[in-house]
Amino acid sequence: MAAPKDTMFRSADMSLTQLYIANEIGREVVSALGELGVMDFRDLNSETTAFQRTFTQEIRRLDNVERQLRYFHSQMDKASIPMRSIYDFNNPFTSPSASEIDELADKSQSLENRISSLNESYETLKKREVELTEWRWVLREAGGFFDRARGQTEEIRHSMDNDDAPLLRDVEHQPQHGEAAADRSFSVMNIGFVAGVIPRERIAAFERILWRTLRGNLYMNQSEIPEPIINPETNEEVSKNVFIIFAHGKEIIAKIRKISESLGADLYSVDENSELRRDQIREVNTRLSDLASVLQNTKQTLDAELTAISRSLAAWMVIIKKEKAVYQTLNKFSYDHQRKTLIAEAWAPTNSLGMIKSTLQDVNDRAGLSVPTIVNQIKTTKTPPTYFKTNKFTLAFQTIIDAYGTIKYREVNPGLPTIVTFPFLFAVMFGDFGHGTILLLAALAMIYYEKPLSRGKLDELFSMIFYGRYIVLMMGIFSMYTGLIYCDAFSKELALFPSMWKWQNNGVGPNADRVEGYVYPFGLDWRWHDTDNDLLFSNSYKMKLSILLGWAHMTFSLGWSLVNARYFATPIDIWGNFVPGMIFFQSIFGYLGFSIVYKWFIDWPARGQDPPSLLNMLIYMFLQPGTLENPDAPLYKGQATVQVILLLLAVCCVPILLFLKPFYLRYEHNKARALGYRGIGENTRVAHALDDDDENQTLNGGRDSFGSDGDGAAMITQGIESGEHEEFEFSEVMIHQIIHTIEFCLNCVSHTASYLRLWALSLAHQRLSIVLWDMTMNIAFGISGFLGVIAIVVIFYFWFALTVFVLCVMEGTSAMLHSLRLHWVEAMSKHFMGDGIPFEPFSFKILLEEEPIE
């Protein structure tokens, strides 16, 4: 079956295919199809959980490998070793054989062991080093403490005799009084001490707790360590203090030890004797230097190992990711135990079937298997998924439409005209030659540097603009065009042709005369710039422009509903929806458009007549049909009669729109009933549900189940394209149609008014750029002399920056959103059906795009 060529106009023709794959080459086949990326596999085991599926074991194993690779990656990040970029590989995408995967798994396992043991020893050594450093600090600081404390034994003793001494301390110290007086040495005074290191932020709490628990019965000394200590586990810097606490009594010392340990302090042994202390310091220093060299070696080995891994890590990650995806897809297949084959069902574009078959043949030949892989096309009643083959130019435009809703299978794709209408309506609002040039240049730059930009990491806003670079390109081109039409370049006029106006009084004015028989040939006459009444003229022009463009856009969109109705062979949609809708719309708003153009056509001053106001004409047409605002001066002869006829036409269309379709559908339904037909969905729902999961489902199979119902009623296979059959319910259809009618009629009014945003935004954009010019450059031009030169340079940059950021980026965003709305609401409501199923092919390319390996 030769399918028509796939275009952007309709979604690609899809076929449900069934593959019979020999079990031995299942992996290779799926991997080859993943490279091809055109098959959307259906899940044939949806009732089994993830754990019960055939290839869960393999996936677990690959998960483990993936975890190991991630571990390497995190270790590399920690050691700040860069990973070789994925783009530096010549061809990382060759599909590896199963044994290569096994090899890779073993390799990563052994590497993980090695790295983690290296890491472990490195961390232990690092911890040891920190401990030694802390000890060294304690030893260094303790010397000072001891000296000071020795000097204070005198003071301690004095305080015990003093009546003004704190009460608590006094009481506590009282019993040892006699003893303490005897000797000044610590040991003789029975004073012990605890030395250690504690994080600085805990020191206050530490002191308070000690004071309270020991009732002030201690002598504490502390000092800050000037350099921060690095915690080897978290790699964080912590600033710490050295402390030494003197107290007497073994129990109290033990208590202090407990308290300090519970507060996270590390205690170190320090000798009281200064000689011994000096020895200790010396010993610690030698140990530290030994440790440093060992650490250095370990670090070097680790880095060398990681660097070796970094060279191929990206490729391994890609391979494992693909392999995992292959097994996940294989899990969707059902397995025929008797014939030892895997059975798969997948949607694929009909045009790609040839390619799929040849790919499968290739895989078969390479494996040297005599049993070929069989590809069957199945006829089905299921709705095929919607698939558009896009390229980098059309992708962003299609995304605009897809963001609103998935297009129904084979429906007219609004994305195709959007390529032009979206940037064009944007440009009508954004029209300025200068700003358009900036957009165009930006887009060209993004397209020129496409490759490096798409590989680099972009921030969110910029990556969005980059994604839509071709939209920006079209926007820029059209904005330049509309800028020429509006005769605006950075709010200044562009005098391309001689003006059609000549100032009176030999070029002084203030009034102007028309140059006889000459119309300004392209765009607005530049003489309107900076006149008293340019807003009067341009507002009238731009409003009418918006209405006419809106009318054209909506008529165009409404036309697609005719194309859709003809394609899906539903004539009732033509006669019940399209025709009355079109007549309704044209007899009111088509007439308005006609009047606008007609009024422009007539040379009113030459007739010596004042033209009638169109706004009042439209109001009178509805409020007092048959009468005119000014019956003596009609727009044309017979205006009143024409308007009555048009109004009657519009009114007549409403009941047709309302009732024709539902009643016709009821008539059809009743006729079929009377002949003994029944809808498929009504009595074969059970059979249908079974079919859904039956992997051998064919049209014949389906027919069998229909026949086996056995009540003699023949089945109509009407609507075979749609998988789900709804029972006919008149009330539902009627309500649906009422809503549609009300919506359509009201929307004709509100949507036409909605296009006036084209005028409003273009007015705002133009005024804003004029204001910006007047507030910056105009002032700069007014300053004379040397200061003026500087002012012009400075203000120019200021003006340019504001032009780019306010007028181009901000105004551009707002105009873009308005254009988006005009497409989603005003245009697409006229014909868009939606409710399609997106096509999600199993493709390695998409997989790697979604989860990039950076």
Binding site: T7, K389, F478, A512, V519
Partner: protein, 79 residues
């Protein structure tokens, strides 16, 4: 130079352009995109130009200049 016939001439030019783009669009899988983009762009641009032209064909108001202050000499902007 430019009068009412410009509209007709413009229309003919656009119709010819559309015909040519329909036939001359590069063959291949992007033919539809080429055709629709070229023709729609031409039609949209023509519409906009024609509307602007029509609006100025028989203007009902004339520009009144607002830069006539004593400091402006008559020679200023005397084109």
């Amino acid at each position: 130079m430019a009068n009412g016939w410009s509209l007709v001439i413009g229309l003919i030019v656009i119709v010819v352009f559309c015909g040519v783009s329909w036939c001359a669009a590069p063959k291949g899988e992007n033919q539809t995109v080429w055709r629709s983009t070229l023709i729609l762009s031409a039609v949209a641009c023509f519409l906009m130009w024609a509307i602007t032209f029509l609006a100025q064909w028989h203007p009902l108001i004339q520009p009144i200049r607002n830069d006539l202050r004593p400091e402006h000499t008559p020679s200023h902007r005397a084109y």
